[in-house]
Symmetry: C2
Subunit: 357 residues, 2 copies
Amino acid sequence: MEKKIAVIKGDGIGPDVVEQAMAVLDRVSEKHGHKFVYTEVLAGGASLDKYGVPLTDETVKVCKASDAVLLGAMGGPKWDTLPGNLRPEAGLLSIRNQLGLFANLRPAVMYQELSGACPLKESVTGSEGLDFVVVRELTGGAYFGKRDTGSDENGMWAYDTMFYTENEIRRIVRVGFELAMKRDKRLTSVDKANVLDSSRLWRKVTLEVAKDYPEVRLNHLYVDNCAMQLVINPRQFDVIVTENLFGDIISDESSMITGSIGMLPSASMGSTSFGMYEPIHGSAPDIAGQDKANPIATILSVAMMLKLSFGLDDEAAEIEAAVKKVLEEGYRTGDIMSEGKTLVGTNEMGRLIRDRI
Amino acid sequence: MEKKIAVIKGDGIGPDVVEQAMAVLDRVSEKHGHKFVYTEVLAGGASLDKYGVPLTDETVKVCKASDAVLLGAMGGPKWDTLPGNLRPEAGLLSIRNQLGLFANLRPAVMYQELSGACPLKESVTGSEGLDFVVVRELTGGAYFGKRDTGSDENGMWAYDTMFYTENEIRRIVRVGFELAMKRDKRLTSVDKANVLDSSRLWRKVTLEVAKDYPEVRLNHLYVDNCAMQLVINPRQFDVIVTENLFGDIISDESSMITGSIGMLPSASMGSTSFGMYEPIHGSAPDIAGQDKANPIATILSVAMMLKLSFGLDDEAAEIEAAVKKVLEEGYRTGDIMSEGKTLVGTNEMGRLIRDRI
Ligand SMILES: CC(C)[C@H](C(=O)O)[C@@H](O)C(=O)O
Ligand SMILES: CC(C)[C@H](C(=O)O)[C@@H](O)C(=O)O
């Protein structure tokens, strides 16, 4: 199989971890006779430094001409004082939008081997660890609704609009149901339907879509309640689906309760198999280029790519098994280090995983 | 001192817990020679049952003519199928708005004696427990912005508007700074200024107000990051201030990480000493009227009332000390029961606290 992958190494530790993920892809292609053709492009801070904007048309063009995008991490304090439209985040939002990536899939998995790093008591997580997925709508809501700032005789005002159409809701909720069908058939839809019109529409459409998935056990949680349930009873979740802003908050909280943020991959999908894959951690500029970053989240992101964009489920499973093996053998990067384990750097961790594929 | 208190017992366990809180107030007035005059009014489900609407003008009038409002809990499954504007929640939002209660103060306190109930590891909470306050804006943002639902050739759409003026932001941020000045002088402002216009205005105004409080250490967190920090490093917080919708989510998460939701009071204030006081827990209709509910959150709510609305700091401290004493002595209602402790009902818990004042 031959596939074209656009690579955005990004800022901070982005290049460190992406290089390891590419090396893992190379190992997979070598072993299974696939061919992955990489085209490196810039976005975020790196693009700002070179072109003065966080995203260029050229980058979007290359991404669109590819079968998948691999992204490191974007941003850093260096660009934080720029005006909003020139910040790395603007590049990220724009690329999501231009590539039509409306579905953000974020597995929240707690690794047995790293349970010490989990902030929740074992009485809360259970001894088997956590394993659920947050499906976040990514191209609608307050992120892309009409917004404005102005002033009148009473001073300044500003607003953002949480706007959704039934089609936008339907397609993302469907992603949630489809995913639930492949997992434990439980879907939690998160909204604030006791207050918001957009949430009432969300709930209405969700109930409609539910008719096509009679096997899935659907429940609804208000977003405030969901933020609570994640802390006291996270085992209740299999798949969570929610709108953009709620998803931003809920998915980050979900990642954190697993205690393994350096381990968690993510995928952003549209209506085809094309997708953008990235670790959920940030760019950690303080340790960039020092062979310290944990490459596992990015390596697991390429596993998601193999599965979701290329249909290479077995190869993806091989990567996941290799990661598990390395953890079982006691190797740790600094962020997940604990007593009695073997500390390794970014490159060594990458090599160890490659060697086990 | 003579004070008028409007009492909304509310739904579910509301009456159970409010009666105990009133008995505590009576004990305080008896001991210190104050006079508290109660006027009972209806709102929420009880008002729906009697008048067909969740809030009447009469209730608002009585509240306005009082020095403070004591509220139990509103809502329950019985009224959940009513249309939005006829739900108990609508009454709650309307009363907040009509009484001008723009500042919601929610202490997040972890009681040493209840540390077993906390979902976070002791390595996260520290051995001294948690003690911070969330200040939530309560009458602006998406809760009260323009909203609409409609349809066009592409189907249905709906939107809500997160709208803020600089004056709305200034007055709530000021509440945050004032509170920080009385505590550890640390304020965390929570927004999503990397995406939202309303958040960028929020941050701008916050930075302006900060100039009046040079002693307060101010930091800013994006709401997604805040949701994470609460789980991995809650000890960093002293006072958190944020807008309505973010505050709904963040304050509930904050309550939950303390492990003591049956214990936590809240106050909703305007620009005078008038305030509305209520436990943060819900109406728990399944145990209503069974002498099972934990009255402590409501009892601590009247302590907040004494302090914030009546300036009776010593009396408030007496109530808080009595609660602490009863916990130390090992008395527990069902929700906070653990091995080796003495299980008591709502009434007995109220009596024990009264007896220690
Ligand atoms: C950087 C920011 C704009 C972005 C978002 O809010 O979507 C980030 O928090 C994320 O979750 O990917
Ligand atoms: C019941 C609901 C409208 C309310 C809110 O969202 O404000 C509740 O969640 C709260 O926090 O008091």
